[in-house]
Amino acid sequence: MRANRMLKVEGLTRRYGDITVVDDLCFHVNEGEFVALLGPSGCGKSTSLKMIAGLEIPDAGSIELEGKDITQMTPGQRKLAMVFQSYALFPHLKVIDNILFGLQARKVAKDEQQRRLDSVVELVGLSEHLQKKPGQLSGGQCQRVALARAIVAEAKLCLMDEPLSNLDAKLRNEMRSEIRSLQQRLGMSVIYVTHDQVEAMSMADRIVLMNDGKIEQVDVPEGLYNKPKTVFTAQFIGSPPMNIMHLANERLGVRPEHIAIADEGRPARVISCDYHGADTVVLAEIGEAEDRAEIIKIRYPGHALFAAQQAISVNWRPEHEHHFPVSQ
């Protein structure tokens, strides 16, 4: 059984003068699916999201929502929900009015507003803060209000623009799983823009990886990790990034966590050790000849105590090798 298409984006392009920020973007979102738009800053992911929201006008391409072309519609007509990086709460309105802002603007009936408000407030746990102004709330609470405003709209598609990047690390982890579980419970279709691969990997059903305005790879998280199609994908996903070794007729990639320090294997020399707690990232030089030596990173479980310049042997299993053509 094939899932219903919620959103289809085709050939979406945006130029600022001579610079093409988004170049021929094509992807789709199924109903109830969580799709992450992932990429380094400046890769055009936020611009893409704004075009889907109607806040930016594309130079070319089309956007279809449930089979209907919405490319020319105003943001209001598209009836999407959006969560912004800065939360975009109205400082002069109480929390309750912030949540109901869209419903009031769209003149939804009062009892319907109340019904949706009650359910969403319980969902995100804001009941004792409804009468406060956003200025009196913490960052995490503001984020919840922004989420509540998006959920209460009961929109077909919810757009999120780096919603967690203003929170501290601990809160970010909590909100990550909270957003994900809300999305699954409510069956929301979500496009989630982020530059944080951990967010994308842990939350998304599918990831659209962008680089320099173009799509690099669209895949499920395991696909991006296990079968990267390009050197960029290989190095963007995973931490520390995949080691790329330059061979004569190809490039060989091996992830740091797949390299073992063993009694036999390829000879290498330790440069330094970086202790992270659960594991240690060992920086080593591999290759016999001085001029062909390559620096690689090895993720070594536990606390490694290698002296600088110590000779070690490393090996990895053939199925962990990734091969890329030289042209990349």
Binding site: K50, A53, G54, L55, T74, P75, G76, Q77, R78, K79, L80, A81, M82, F84, Q85, S86, A88, F90, P91, H92, L93, F101, G102, A105, R106, R149, A153
Partner: protein
């Protein structure tokens, strides 16, 4: 120790200036509440009287003048708020051809003294048949370059994401101005309104030129006619009349003093 001396000197100067500033007002109060023979003579236990207010009120149609002033000031303020909001929003947020030029024109207008245009304006009003009407007194001031500039600057500080959020939530252009920009710029509106009301309440030259009868004559012009030297100067009655004229504004300011000063600070910091 320099700074302490500096503080003392500046505090002293502030008091001197404040007293100089308030002296005419104090004198007006003194003269208005005492019989005419005490107008230029100070005696602590001089008898108090309301007689001056009664004779001032009887000698000139103050109520009519006050009504005219209120109507004129209201027309001007209301129209300025609407025009400046729309123009300020357009200059701050809308992309259109010639926006920079339009803004430069507004700024240029800030530098033109309104008095320079009196003759030209009078001719225009005659052409429109608006001489000696409330609208005629207000017409040259229905838009304010200062207000446009002030609101444009304030609107520019409203985060783009707030506007985006309102658009996604389905608000129209005017809806966004009304529900997002106006409430956020409230301190600026208050500060501007205060400046505008006190300027036009006290405006003299233009109303003097353009009004002929009681039908549209505001307080300031009425006071000038009332106190004209050729009719003999009675300081007590003039003081009483002056207090009647400035009373409403004075009370308004004293009541909302804290709020006004706060909003000035607020608008200033931004």
């Amino acid at each position: 120790m320099d700074s302490i001396w500096f503080q003392r000197v500046s505090k002293f100067s502030a008091y001197v200036l404040a007293i100089l500033w308030v002296l005419p007002l104090l004198y007006a109060f003194w003269a208005a509440f005492h019989p005419p023979e005490f107008a230029t003579k100070f005696a602590l236990f001089a008898p108090l009287t309301m007689e001056n207010f009664v004779s001032a009120w009887d000698q000139a149609p103050f109520f009519r003048y006050m009504l005219n002033t209120v109507i004129i000031t209201t027309i001007i303020l209301f129209s300025q708020l609407v025009v400046c909001t729309l123009a300020g929003y357009a200059l701050a947020r809308e992309e259109f051809l010639g926006r920079g030029f339009a803004f430069a024109l507004v700024l240029t207008q800030l530098m033109v003294m309104p008095e320079v245009l009196i003759v030209e304006n009078y001719q225009t009003l005659t052409g429109l048949n608006l001489v000696d009407t409330h609208l005629g007194v207000g017409l040259p001031y229905l838009a304010s370059a200062f207000g446009i500039f002030l609101l444009r600057q304030t609107f520019k500080t409203v985060p783009q994401e707030l506007e985006d959020a309102a658009r996604v939530e389905g608000l129209s252009g005017l809806g966004i101005i009304w529900k997002v920009f106006v409430p956020l710029a409230f301190p600026t509106y208050l500060a501007f309104s205060l400046v505008s009301v006190s300027y036009h309440w006290n405006n003299f030259l233009w109303p003097l030129v353009v009004t002929n009868t009681e039908a549209s004559r505001p307080l300031t012009v009425g006071m000038a006619i009332f106190g004209a030297p050729e009719s003999g100067v009675d300081w007590s009655v003039i003081s009483a009349g002056t207090l009647i004229a400035i009373g409403p504004l004075l009370i308004l300011f004293l009541v909302f003093q804290r709020k006004f000063i706060q909003s000035f600070m607020h608008a200033g910091i931004k």
